[in-house]
Amino acid sequence: MEQTLISFISALRNADVRVSPAETLDAFAATNLIGYAERDTLKRALWLTLPKTPDEKERFDQCFDRFFDVEAIDSNTAADEAPSASASSDLGAMLQSGDDAALSLAMAEAGRETGVSSIQLFTQRGLFTRRIMERMGLGDLNAEIAALRDGSLADLELAQSLSAARDRLRGQVRDYVEREFLLHADHDGRRLREEVLRRVKLSNVDRRNFRHLKAIVLRMAKKLETLASRKRKVFRRGHLHVPSTLRSNMSYDGALFELEWKSKKINRPKVFAVCDVSGSVASYARFMLLFLYSLEAVVPRVRAFAFSSHLGEVTGWFEEHDLEEAITRTLKAFSGGSTDYGQAFEDLHDLCLDEVDHRSTVIILGDARNNYGDPRKTLLHTLYERAGRVIWLNPEPRSSWFAGDAEMRAYLPYCHQARVCNSLEHLERLMTDLVKLGR
């Protein structure tokens, strides 16, 4: 039974319920206490120990129902017909006796021996079905049936009933294997897809995959958030820190000369995100904004600007609407128009130059393709001097940064950092830096 619980837990992990070894031990302790006799009680006990969010609880329910499938193996006919002779092979005797529990136990045992839980591909079902049948003693049974066929009328009857039972069993084993496949294999290719999506260029991603991308972004953001908030310190100003005051004044004979305060050190980064949303870069802007705003808890002060021919602030939309809606609105309002970086920087100066200070990070996302217009790099220079950091993200590979109408050569001296950014992995790296910066 312990083995069963362990494989149930691995099935849970496969269904995206995170179960730690400590929780596994808890589950064992709970089941030892409660026993396996009552399905509902068992389910409730595991429900308390294993899944830890409402979302996980739901997946747990599904997984439990699928795993501990109560559907009994139906085997009535073998007993009904009751042939006078009895089968001699082990499997045959088991089939004939109609002992469901023993049969399913034998099936699970054989399944474990053949390693059915390592099944990876849908096409392996036949293979595993046969292996399990063989392990259960199919060979002996077949030989017996063949031998009985040549015998008396009673033997013939037995042979018929046994071969019918064998076919039923095969169906059941196939069902069992299928269930194992659903539980243990990466059946919808989720992990593979995720792996690929993290690396692929964002502009190449199909629209129908946006949903998955979004989920990945949210999960990445979540991870970063927990990483960062662990480091965040909470301080309040104006509170005397008595223990450390006493300690540091020990040397003055207990007279309080030097006061120690609960110091305040909040260094939340101010982020100005300036996104080119013209056709080619729009999908990158979409995911960068999504990422940035998912990090709200650790990067709370984000101001977002979008431009193609002119620039405008879109922060308000992100405050009022949900992410999806805000991004759609942004793209609708500012995309289309030919890109003019000079104009964009001028608008940016008018809008918020006063608020950029040494703690601000300015992120510019764009390919710097200025349609041969005036790059007006002096404007970026002022920004560079005021801001703590200017980061330029360019979705194009480094080799084409200086080709054609790209103005990266003009802008590069005024960026603290310029990097290629065209996949979720790149974005994640950027955000990790950003979050660290604020600490």
Binding site: A45, K52, T226, V234
Partner: protein, 317 residues
């Protein structure tokens, strides 16, 4: 908690559910199982769920059921160890140093040289940081409780992340380390710990891992019916079922804040005072503010009241 009087109570899950009901807390088997496992495995329980479903009440009831004192720690932003675990009695410590200064001469009398003086000082024994000067706060108090207790850490999601880390030692090993003194372990009887969270922020995995996780959703109609029956027994059964059906219908509507069980109970009490024996549209409109806490919601529901009332009537009426 393992005294004979308690083993009777937690002999089986059904017993727990019954015992909780005796104390006026009606719940389903999930909650019963949680208390049962918490008792037998000595694990803390993290209770989550929408506001007003009786998370805090569960801890209070468990305390009453086990006849143990309830020690409560209300969490808020900025809560730190000085308020949750222990604090030094600074005033007394200062006085102590003064007293010490006066006795210093006696101690050092006849000492030859600095080394000797220092040695004597060490021998003298320092109680500056000792239990006498320790002011226990709820968590430490809970550990030192001889006969065990129920410790309620309420709304743990309101506290800061660091505070969660402070809790980890307590939750996994039932001990607290005080740098100046050492480790304080729980007495032979471990406290039973309940943590509640409204999910305003995700609780860290480390904390969740150490707890049993109980999610209490809004109750279904029959459970809510029984809850109202237990809490406000004076309400007529017909009115009760009408009330519950009405509230259940409200929960399906798109409201800013859906009514919780506590609101249902408040409403039942209100109707009792008004001597109502059945719901009608006017009565509902007059008392809606008991159930709904936002003007917007009251307006939204106001228009629907007659049809909601009609639907809440039993079919045979």
């Amino acid at each position: 908690m393992n005294s004979p009087a308690h083993t009777e109570l937690v002999h089986s899950i059904e017993n727990v559910v019954d015992a909780l009901r005796m104390e006026g807390y009606v719940c389903d088997e999930h909650v019963g199982t949680a208390v049962y496992l918490a008792h037998h495995l000595n694990k803390p329980v993290l209770v989550e769920g929408p506001p007003g479903v009786g998370k805090t009440e569960l801890a209070k009831t468990a305390a009453a059921m086990f006849k143990l004192p309830l020690i409560r720690l209300q969490c808020y932003e900025g809560l730190d160890e000085a308020k949750a675990i222990y604090e030094w009695k600074y005033g007394k410590q200062l006085l102590y140093t003064q007293v010490l200064k006066e006795t210093l001469e006696d101690v050092l009398q006849g000492a030859k040289g600095l080394a000797d003086s220092v040695r004597r000082l060490h021998e003298f024994g320092d109680i500056f940081f000792s239990e006498e000067f320790l002011e226990p706060r709820p968590l430490l108090k809970a550990l030192r409780e001889e006969a065990g207790c129920v410790l309620l850490i309420d709304e743990v999601d309101k506290s800061d992340q660091e505070f969660e880390s402070l809790l980890l030692e307590l939750l996994s090993d039932f001990q607290i380390s005080i740098p100046e003194i050492g480790t304080v372990k729980a007495r032979s009887v471990l406290p039973m710990v309940f943590l509640t969270s409204n999910n305003t922020r995700e609780i860290s995995d480390a904390l969740k891992r150490r707890c049993l996780h109980l999610y209490i959703p809004f109750p279904d109609a029959s459970l809510e019916n029984r809850i109202v029956e237990a809490r406000v027994p004076e309400v007529l059964p017909s009115l009760r079922s009408q009330l519950v059906t009405f509230i259940q219908a409200l929960r399906d509507m798109d409201l800013k804040k859906v009514p919780a069980i506590s609101e249902t109970i408040d409403w039942a009490r209100t109707l009792l005072i008004l001597h109502a024996d059945r719901l009608d549209a006017d009565l509902v409109r007059d008392t809606l503010s008991v159930v709904l806490k936002f003007q917007e919601d009251i307006e939204t529901v106001g228009a629907e009241v007659p049809s909601l009332v009609r639907r809440s009537l039993p079919d045979d009426a």
